[in-house]
């Protein structure tokens, strides 16, 4: 019988109680005696030469304690890119230095060139405004094509705005070209994957303390991966020894990728705290977040799909320009390459894939991973061009996909883009989607919409993603500067309760509830007796944090391994207590028993014995019951899904309403279905936001026009429908102990092409031969497309 708080139970979240009562502790909530505030002076121009910075007047203002400029950080290191990409010709990418504070030049609006520390935020703001910076504005580099063609460079020292020109897989290029050249039919689509701002609701915040007596630093910061942040600060930027720097990511109000990275503000508050001997806190206001958080997407892509006369896919070929902004954020180079190009075979048996990506520096905020990170871009290109091809050759879009799906008996399957998919069943997902969404009833619903004077469209999509990031050996070959294992320590306390220290970080994902479910299931004890500790580098083992839907697949696997070690040791202790050999001990439902007898001891008895080791075989077994495991995955995990949605479109206004959205996903095994469903809901909301509402707009001078919630259209409650989410068609991952695949990003990957395909279907049903429209599909764009069709 399944435990009611074990694997598979929809246990409500224990962390909710503090969030619902205002007792959460986010970085900006932490205050102590002697608190000071940091405020940054930021560039108002996109590109400019810093001629001089005069801080004299600012320094004399009330409450000002210290002022820093780029000069103060010339001797320290830059914030590095985490992934080294080589161009097609074998040359390494360009990696210009990303300083703590801008020095010499400012390179995007919001680029910080100075910081003021004062007694209060207001005093620091006033002083920051009093800094006299003479910055000579230069022509801004905003458009990627212009950036590649021109002789005006974001970084003069590298003499180009092209970071790299990457081919994947270069050895497939000729075969792909030949397949396209000889194909019966080629469908071509040029599209934009719109630039987005992640917009976690908690703005970034960092707070540093310095304890001179021990030469120790403590940094509280809004991070998805405190150990990675510590490593970057210690090994690359400030050189603080890791053992002298504690990084704590307390409650964090959402991340979606934007809080993976180390940012200069973290280094600044650390340096300031040491200089002043007082705590220093910086918290972004929302406009600062828009200007300086790493943005997402921003690809311009041409994709071609070649088909034979029967509709079999022969090749996908893409050329993409990927904006990386003014500086390389930590994973900016991995996102458009190995998280994108490797997925360009999709769910299909297509034999030829070639991807070319040119990464381009511009005078805009850095661009990096945002929920899905490369995989939404891949899925969007594939699933849009497949729909277009279906229309061109007169095929049903679902049937054309099915014809080309990898079949359930073909796993493991080596994709033409270089990955080995371990498991899946895309036809079963599509079957289930057609059933739960009542696809057969669409024609009737379309009639009902048309009776109201509205057009109704149906859109479909199939996706695969690579999660559980990532096998260290593989990513090392591909250019990663870090390993991507994770770690867990399971500490059984003497009285039988547990503290489980994990490298993953929970900022909405519910780890404090889901991870104990795994341990409770394995140990046969109540989940309530198990607490998760995360986010504090002084307490947890070295782990790589949370992104890429990796927490459960990678860190959860480490939890399993550490718990197995605990069980193995506990069996030895139990064998000693029961005076039998280890091999005679069975462990079930929290009881260690001797096979074939009624002799047993409980898990709690063993825990107590481990810590009060009287009459203990010390020569064979150490006291204590605590084990650590590091887990490095053997492969990526491959969640997949079939999505559909129906939209209503008002031809008079161009307004699109998403009437239904169905997501059928294969996440492998599911630990807590309530949390998994919630993760999909959130991804769907963000995906609908990308498809219909959200856009990040810089003008030709590099000014961000969408820098507040009055200018950037965030999805609100009345912009989205109730969703139908189904994960009944799971195929267990074959290579991790829980058989889990990861669910955090699926919704944001699967939904944008689904919505846009539905909008095009709606326009087509109204007699308008519109074959393409770019996101966000605003009323203006829809109306214009229909007028021009």
């Amino acid at each position: 019988m399944p435990k009611d708080d074990g694997i598979g139970a929809a246990t409500v979240r224990r962390e909710d109680v503090r969030f619902l009562t205002g007792a959460g502790q986010y970085t900006d909530d932490i205050k102590a005696y002697g608190e000071t505030a940091a405020v940054f002076a930021r560039s108002t121009v996109a590109n400019g030469i810093i001629k001089s910075i005069d801080t004299t007047a600012a320094a004399a203002m009330p409450g000002v304690l210290a002022i820093f400029t780029g000069e103060d950080f010339v001797e320290v290191g830059g914030n590095p890119a985490g992934w080294l990409i080589n161009s097609r010709d074998g040359t390494p990418m360009h990696e210009p230095k990303r300083p703590v504070l801008a020095h010499g030049k400012v390179r995007h609006v919001g680029d910080a060139y100075a910081a003021v520390i004062a007694e209060t935020v207001e005093q620091a703001k006033n002083a920051a405004e009093a800094i006299e910076a003479d910055i000579e504005e230069l022509e801004a580099i905003v458009n990627m094509k212009d950036a590649l063609a021109g002789s005006n460079f974001v970084h003069d020292e590298i003499g180009t705005n092209q970071c790299f020109d990457w081919g994947w897989i270069e050895d497939n290029r000729e075969a792909t070209d030949a397949a396209i050249k000889g194909a019966h039919h080629v469908t071509t689509l040029e599209l934009v994957n719109n630039r987005l701002v992640p917009n976690a609701m908690e703005p970034r915040s960092s707070r540093a303390e310095y304890r001179a007596a021990n030469d120790e630093y403590v940094l509280h910061t809004t991070s998805q991966n405190p150990h990675l942040t510590r490593l970057l600060i210690s090994a690359f930027v400030l050189g603080i020894p890791e053992n002298k720097l504690t990084v704590i990511a307390p409650d964090v109000g959402g991340g979606f990728g934007s809080k993976i990275y180390h940012y200069g503000e973290e280094a600044l508050v650390l340096a300031a705290a040491k200089k002043l001997g007082r705590p220093v806190t910086w918290t972004a206001d929302r406009s600062e977040a828009f200007l300086t958080d790493a943005h997402g997407r921003d690809h311009v892509t041409k994709i071609e799909l070649a088909l034979d006369e029967d509709g079999n896919f022969l090749a996908f070929r893409t050329e993409t320009l990927a904006n990386v902004g003014a500086y390389l954020s930590n994973f900016a180079t991995a996102t458009p390459t190995f998280l994108h190009g490797t997925l360009m075979a999709g769910n299909y048996t297509v034999p030829n894939v070639y991807v070319n990506v040119k990464a381009v520096f511009t005078n805009t905020a850095p661009v990096d991973a945002y929920r899905g990170a490369g995989r939404p871009e891949a899925t969007y290109s594939l699933e849009r061009v497949i729909d277009k091809a279906a229309r061109e050759i007169g095929r049903d879009p679902i049937e054309l996909r099915r014809q080309n799906f990898i079949k359930a008996d073909q796993y493991p399957f080596a994709s033409a883009a270089g990955l080995e998919y371990d498991s899946g069943n895309y036809d079963a997902l599509m079957d289930q989607m057609e059933k739960v969404a009542d696809v057969a009833g669409f024609a009737e619903r379309r009639k009902a919409s048309e009776a109201k004077g509205l057009l109704r469209g149906f859109g479909v999509n199939a996706y695969i993603e690579a999660c559980g990031i990532a096998p260290s050996n593989l990513v090392g070959v591909l250019g990663s500067r870090v390993g991507l294992y994770d770690a867990a320590t399971v500490r059984v306390n003497a009285t039988g309760n547990l503290s489980v220290m994990v490298g993953a970080h929970s900022h909405g994902q519910g780890h404090e509830t889901a991870f104990p479910q795994v341990v409770a299931e394995m140990l046969g004890i109540d989940a309530a007796a198990i607490d998760i500790v995360h986010g504090d580098t002084s307490k947890i083992p070295f782990g790589m944090g949370t992104y890429g839907s990796r927490s459960l697949a990678v860190c959860g696997s480490a939890v399993v391994r550490a718990t197995e070690k605990v069980i193995n040791k506990a069996k030895k202790i139990a064998a000693h207590m029961l005076e039998v050999s280890d091999g005679d001990i069975e462990f079930n439902d929290g009881q260690f028993s001797v096979a074939g007898t009624d002799k047993s001891v409980s898990f709690g008895d063993v825990a107590l014995k481990a810590y009060i080791p009287h009459e203990f075989p010390l020569e064979d077994i150490e006291p204590g019951l605590e084990e650590t495991a590091f887990y490095d995955p053997a492969n990526f995990t491959y969640p997949s899904g079939a999505y559909c949605c129906e939209v209503e479109l008002d031809p008079e206004t161009g307004k699109v309403t998403v009437e239904s959205m169905t997501a059928v996903d294969d996440f492998g095994n599911v630990i807590n279905p309530m949390i998994v469903t919630g993760q999909v809901h959130g991804g769907l909301g963000q995906g609908i936001g990308q498809a219909l509402l959200e856009n990040t707009t810089y003008d030709e001078n590099g000014q961000l026009l969408s820098a507040s919630y009055m200018d950037y259209a965030m999805p609100r409650a009345d912009d989205v429908p109730f969703y139908t989410v189904d994960h009944s068609q799971g195929n267990a991952c074959t290579h991790n102990p829980l058989g889990v695949k990861g669910c955090g990003e699926a919704g944001a990957i699967g939904s944008p092409p689904t919505v846009v395909n539905a909008v095009i279907d709606a326009m087509q049903s109204g007699g308008k031969n519109v074959t393409h429209i770019d996101m966000p599909v605003t009323p203006h764009r829809v109306w214009s497309a229909m007028q021009n069709a």
């Binding site: 929809a10 409500v12 979240r13 962390e15 909710d16 109680v17 969030f19 619902l20 009562t21 205002g22 007792a23 959460g24 502790q25 986010y26 900006d28 909530d29 205050k31 207001e122 917009n199 976690a200 609701m201 908690e202 409650d251 964090v252 109000g253 959402g254 979606f256 206001d285 929302r286 406009s287 909405g508 994902q509 519910g510 279905p673 309530m674 949390i675 998994v676 469903t677 919630g678 809901h681 959130g682 991804g683 769907l684 909301g685 963000q686 609908i688 507040s708 919630y709 009055m710 965030m714 999805p715 609100r716 409650a717 009345d718 989205v720 109730f722 969703y723 139908t724 989410v725 919704g747």
Partner: protein, 161 residues
Amino acid sequence: MTKVTMTINGKSVAGEIEGNTLLSAFLRDDQRLTGTHVGCDTSQCGACVVHVNGRPVKSCTMFAAEAEGAQVSTIEGQANADGSLNVIQQAFQDHHGLQCGFCTPGMVMTTAALLKDNPKPTVDEVREHLEGNICRCTGYHNIVKAIMAASGQDVSAIAAE
């Protein structure tokens, strides 16, 4: 500096503040009631919603001095007298109406105001009423469901889990 007095969650408080101190800053920094969050500074996101004299306000857009003599309720005062979650809070937990928790205090306070005026709202009314509260985590599905449940209405027809 200006002296301000008000009642917060039933307790009389007084503070010395600058005239331009926002109510959100007074609650967070002076009173150390950090459950009220600031998410946007422009009155858009609703993370800072509290009640002043029974009405919901965005505390990032009101001076503390304007609350002189007022009855102020914050998220910290919403639980039942015995410390257990109130009906709205419990519904949010039961229906997974929160993830990262940052927008949650504002969502709970906004819901309380809605249900006071409209004890049995329709789904459309709930969605409309939430136009001033942004959540980036949940896609709103479970927030709307939790609010319907908190109003005592049957939510079994709304997709489960």
